[in-house]
Symmetry: C2
Subunit: 332 residues, 2 copies
């Protein structure tokens, strides 16, 4: 997946093993002898993709405590449990997001709402949230429960603010950044922060790693929103244009309206009203809004990478830097 | 609310104060400076009714440790936090239940899905679950997080089993009891159990209180299902017949089909298919199924009350017994 890992087989092998263990914990937590539940748990395993959040947590810990890689036994069960929890929280948000967006497709397959109906998707999302907290309690550290409870509160706030701005073509850039900070960056920031905390890093490092994750998360979401507007279904594994269909106007459009004189906005408004995704796309391409949005994302990546200065040189630090770069060049 | 409390002003006053404190903790947890969130939090306060779950937790603790009432300072902040958590979990299930049932009305007012749309209701339910776990973590006792995480897992399992049996006229009594044990009795059982644990009760008492709550919870749900079939909208504060509309067949109907020869089932089947609630109601009344369902509920109440033998005599014990009796005579 990452260039650096090709050149560092030891780190690659350690990460592979750790992520396998995280996957086992994840799957064990969701094992159920109730058919109505276990069938959904099998389905959700197909959703799991890049494991970005557990990876960031583990690599952040490795970057904050370079002795981990040396003795190979540094990462603990607690790391793996919390990593699995972050992935489960993420999965729960995907399941409910698909309900909110009436999405039919994810990772080239049907969503749970498409296959089992909205009601089952609502309840199964609840089951995942509940299991995430249940699993988190097994780490036996109330401060982590408290931290992740705070993150999921924030995450829901972001979604609620976004819902309250549906069909709001005049949504401000400030509100857009508030939404994506809360709904996306909060969890990714917490992953990097918790990685640092579990590594026993000092406060300034914990704070820098949190900032690293938040900036990376914002860049990630800007890229996600760009892909939804401009991406190809085959690469995405899902229908593009979902945000527009849901009445969610993201950075490229906000930028477009911010840079286009009001007297010239009528055609774009008409395309948005009629839901003409192709026309919206070509208007955006003709403007500089896509480029400018990418530049904004790149600036957040740079800010993220600047935070890594608090870490000693290590392969893990290099990998964190590469992950940050990767976030804005991905096509899926 | 309860006869006994009229005769025991001291206990009544203590409970009133404690429940006021629980309400304050509940409301403080849901305070938000984000308008999109705070408006929903105000709405949810209208949902709060009998506070059955916090009441059971507090009275169970009082019943398990009779010194509490004597020095009036026995109940701790931890009791009140956990009591507020159980109410918040309950509220979250109501919000998502209303989405699942397409319910328009609760406590004589519009539901969140009716007023703000399904999507906002899904996300606000998530916000309540998340806040429940966040608040629970503030009690600083991982074993309580673990216990309540287990309860919410179970609760979701119950809902998922119920969803998988929608429109299943042949649903068995066994499955019905599995569903209501999981979706209703698990939380009520845990309230009484946690009350005992927080009072420092020995294992046999903790177990008996859990059983008390489970049996009471099953009786409560049977009564709820009966009221949905037979109750009056004005008393219920919501539309009756919701279960039938949702394709959920509950004890009176399961009993009806179990006691009616197949050759005589056609009229009832026709009424169910056409959704003729009035005809279903009169068929049921003409049979003994309503009476028999009430008898089943009464047997669970008796089982619940039998568990109280492990407790010393006290006003709290008498109150628990009265609450159990009340569960099956309520009309709303």
């Amino acid at each position: 997946m990452f260039e650096l890992l090709n050149q560092r087989p030891e780190l690659a092998e350690l990460l592979r093993q750790e992520l396998d263990d995280v996957t086992s914990i994840f799957e064990e937590q969701l094992t159920s002898d109730i058919p109505a539940v276990s069938e959904l748990c099998v389905h959700i395993n197909r959703y799991r993709g890049k494991m970005l959040r557990p990876t960031l947590l583990l690599v952040s810990s490795l970057g904050c405590n370079t002795t981990y890689l040396k003795d190979k036994k540094g990462l603990t069960k607690k790391h793996r449990i919390v990593a699995a929890v972050t992935e489960m929280i993420h999965m729960a948000t995907l399941v409910h997001d698909d309900v909110l967006d009436l999405a039919q497709m994810r990772r080239n397959g049907p969503t749970i709402n498409e296959q089992n109906g909205n009601q089952t998707a609502v309840m199964f999302g609840d089951y995942l949230i509940s299991n995430a907290f249940h699993l988190c309690s097994k780490a036996g550290d109330p401060s982590i429960n408290l931290r992740l409870g705070d993150v999921t509160n924030t995450l829901c706030e972001g979604e609620l603010i976004q819902l309250s701005h549906r069909d709001d073509v005049t949504i401000s850039e400030e509100t857009y950044f508030q939404i994506i900070s809360k709904k996306t960056a909060s969890l990714i920031g917490a992953c990097c922060e918790l990685g640092a905390i579990l590594a026993g890093a000092p406060d300034n490092v914990v704070k820098a790693m949190w900032q690293f994750g938040c900036s990376l998360g914002i860049a990630f979401q800007i890229r996600d929103d760009l892909l939804d507007l401009m991406g190809e279904q085959e690469l995405l594994g899902k229908h593009p244009g979902k945000d527009m269909d849901a009445g969610e106007f993201t950075l490229p459009l906000i930028d477009y309206f911010g840079h286009t004189p009001e007297s010239q906005q009528a055609p774009m408004m008409a395309h948005l009203r009629s839901g003409d995704a192709v026309a919206v796309r070509s208007e955006l391409l003709a403007s500089r809004s896509v480029d400018r949005s990418m530049e904004r994302a790149a600036a957040f990546v740079q800010n993220a990478k600047d935070q890594l200065d608090v870490l000693d040189d290590s392969d893990a630090r290099l990998l964190l830097s590469e992950i940050a770069d990767q976030v804005i060049v991905r096509t899926s």
